[in-house]
Symmetry: C2
Amino acid sequence: MIQVSKKHLAGALQQAARIAGTSSKRDVAETALLLTVEPHGLTITAHRDVHLRQRVPATAQLGMDGTRAVVPAALTAQLVMNCAAAELELAFEKDLVRIISGGSSVTVNTVNEHADHFDRHTGASGGATVALPAADLAAAINGTVYAASSAAFQAVFRGQLITGNADGLRIVASDGYRVAVADLPAPTPAPINAIIHATHTRELARMIAGAGNVTLQVSSTHATVRTEDQQLTLSMPLMHGDYPDYQRVMPETTSTIRLPAAQLRESLARVAIMADKNANNRCALTTENGRVTIAADGDYGRGQDTLQLDDWTGEPPHTIYVNSRFMLEALATMTGQLTLALAGTTRPFVLTSDAPGLRGVLVTLRP
Amino acid sequence: MIQVSKKHLAGALQQAARIAGTSSKRDVAETALLLTVEPHGLTITAHRDVHLRQRVPATAQLGMDGTRAVVPAALTAQLVMNCAAAELELAFEKDLVRIISGGSSVTVNTVNEHADHFDRHTGASGGATVALPAADLAAAINGTVYAASSAAFQAVFRGQLITGNADGLRIVASDGYRVAVADLPAPTPAPINAIIHATHTRELARMIAGAGNVTLQVSSTHATVRTEDQQLTLSMPLMHGDYPDYQRVMPETTSTIRLPAAQLRESLARVAIMADKNANNRCALTTENGRVTIAADGDYGRGQDTLQLDDWTGEPPHTIYVNSRFMLEALATMTGQLTLALAGTTRPFVLTSDAPGLRGVLVTLRP
C-alpha cells in the first residue's frame, strides 16, 4: 500500500496519459503506464515516441521498493481524477491495482506482461548539456512554435530547430512563409544542432511551466529535458533531415515603424474578420503622415482602422500587404512596443518587441 | 445613424446568429438577419425553422423609423463582438451597413433583396395562452430534455411533449427507455397538446434565462413564447405525429429508498467509469442493511462504492441493474434528498427529489 495526494497523482497521470494516448496500432503497451514504487515515492513512466518519467511524492509501506505495475493510462488517470478524497491509497495486488479513496474502491487490471516495454528507452545519454530556467525555455518555445507547419511538404518544417554554441541557445520555427526565432543567453559547451517535432516541444513547454531550472541534453538521437528537482524527465527523439537555411530569408531592412503591439493586434483582429480567407487573409498596412491604416476587403464588405505611430525611421513603404492570420499569430508573442523593420513592399519584414529575444519574420503578399 | 450598446447588440446578434446558422441548402436568406429601426430601438429578426424577434434599446436619428437592412448573420455578430468601444453606431447606407466604434469602421454589404423572407412567418396567432415565470419554464425544460432522443426511430421522441389543462402545464421527454416529466402549476384556459423539437426547447430555455415572466401561446401550427417586456419573441413549429402513451410505462411502485441526491450522483460517476460501454453502461445497485452498494465490472477492472440510506419503506429489491449513463443524466436534475421508488427488480423505477415538479422514470436492465 502507498499513500499519495490525489492532486499530485492526478496531475502526473494526466500528463503521462497525454503522452500514452488511448489507442496504438503498433503496441498496446504504448497506451499503458509503468508505476514503480521507489524510496522517494512513486515513479510514473510513459514510453511512446517520447519517453516521460515523473516522480510523485508518496509514502510507501515497508518492503515495497521496486514494486511495479503496468496499467492502462487514460483509464487510471480518469479513476484518480474522480476519487472522492484528497488523499488516496494504491494497493499493488496480484493482477490488479486497487485505488482506495474515501469509502470507495476501484480495481484496475494490470498488464504486467508489458513491463519490458518501458525498459526499451535508450539514447538519452551523451552529448552537450546546458542548464537554463524552465520559464525561459518554455517562453522561447511558446514564442516561436506558431510558425511551425502542421502539414508541410518538408517534414522538418513540422519541427523546431534548436541550435547552440558559445553565444547561446536558439530556437527556430518556420513553414517557409514565415520564420520565428528565439535567442536565449544560455551558451552550450559544445555545438548543438537538433530538430524536435513541434508536437513534442509544445508538450515540453506545457510540462515545465512552473518548474525551476532545467537541463537540456542533446545526444545523437534524443533531446532530454530534466527538471532540477529530478521530478520530471522528458526525452524526445530528434527528427532526421536538414533544416533549411532560414538565415537566407532574413531581410536587410531599410526602415522601421513603431507602435504599441497590443493596439496593432486588436485592430488587425477586427479588420481581419473582413479579409478574404481564400486570398491569404490579405490585409493592407498603409503608412502615411505618422499613422498606419489597416484595411481589408472581402466578399461581404470592408474593414478599416487607423493607428497613431509612436515613431519611425527611414522611409517606410507606403503600403504592404500581409497575411493577417500569420501576422496575428506573430503579434500574439509580442509585448510592449512593437517595431516593424521593413525592406520595401515586396521583401519580408521583421517584428520585434519588448519580449526578450523573440523575432518574427513574415513574407509580404504581392501588391 | 443609430447608437446602441455593444453588449446589448452583440448578445442579441449572437442569439439570432445561432438561429440563422451559417449555411443553408434551401435559401441563403435563412442565414441572414433583418434589422429594423423602430421607435424603441432596433429589432433583429431571424427566420428559419424557428422565427425569432428581439428588440435592442437604441437611439435613432430623426426620420429613421422603419429603415430596414438585411445582413449576413454570423459575420455581423462577429464584427460587433470585435468592436473596440462599449458604444457603437450603425449607419444604414446604400447597399451597406456601416459599423463605427472607437476609431474603426467596418462596412457590411446588405442583401436587402431578401427582405420579404422575414415577412413569411405566420401561424403564431390563436390558440391557448398561459403566463408563467421564465425561470420555471426554463427549469422544466432543462430538467427533462435529457431524456429526449437524438436519433430515434420515432421522430416524436426527438421532441418534447407539452400538455396543459386546468391542473397545470406538463413537459415530457422520452426516448422509450426513460421518461422525464416536469409539472408546472400553470393552468391553461384551454387544453394544450403540442410536440416541439428538443433543439428548439433547448434554445428557448437558453434565451429566456434571466427574463421575468413569459407567455406561452400554442396555435395549431406553432408554439410562441414572448417575454413580458416584449423584448423577445420566439415562435417554434409544432412537430407532427402522436406522442406515445408515456403514462402506460409509469410503474406502480411498492418500495422506496432515500438518500442525498448529490452523494449518489458522485458515487455513481466514479463507479461508472468502470462500466462496460458496450453493455448499456451496466451498474448494480444493491440495497442491504440500510445501505446501498453501487458496483460496476468492466474489461479493465471493478468499481465499488457504498452509501448509507437516510430512510426506506416497503421491501426494496435486493439488486437492480441500471444504465449508469441514463441514471447520471436523471440524477443531474435532482437536488436535496432523492427518493427512488421501486417496483421490483425488472420493472422501471422512479426518481424524485426536492427539485419541484420533476420526475424521472428509468427502465431496469435485466438481471
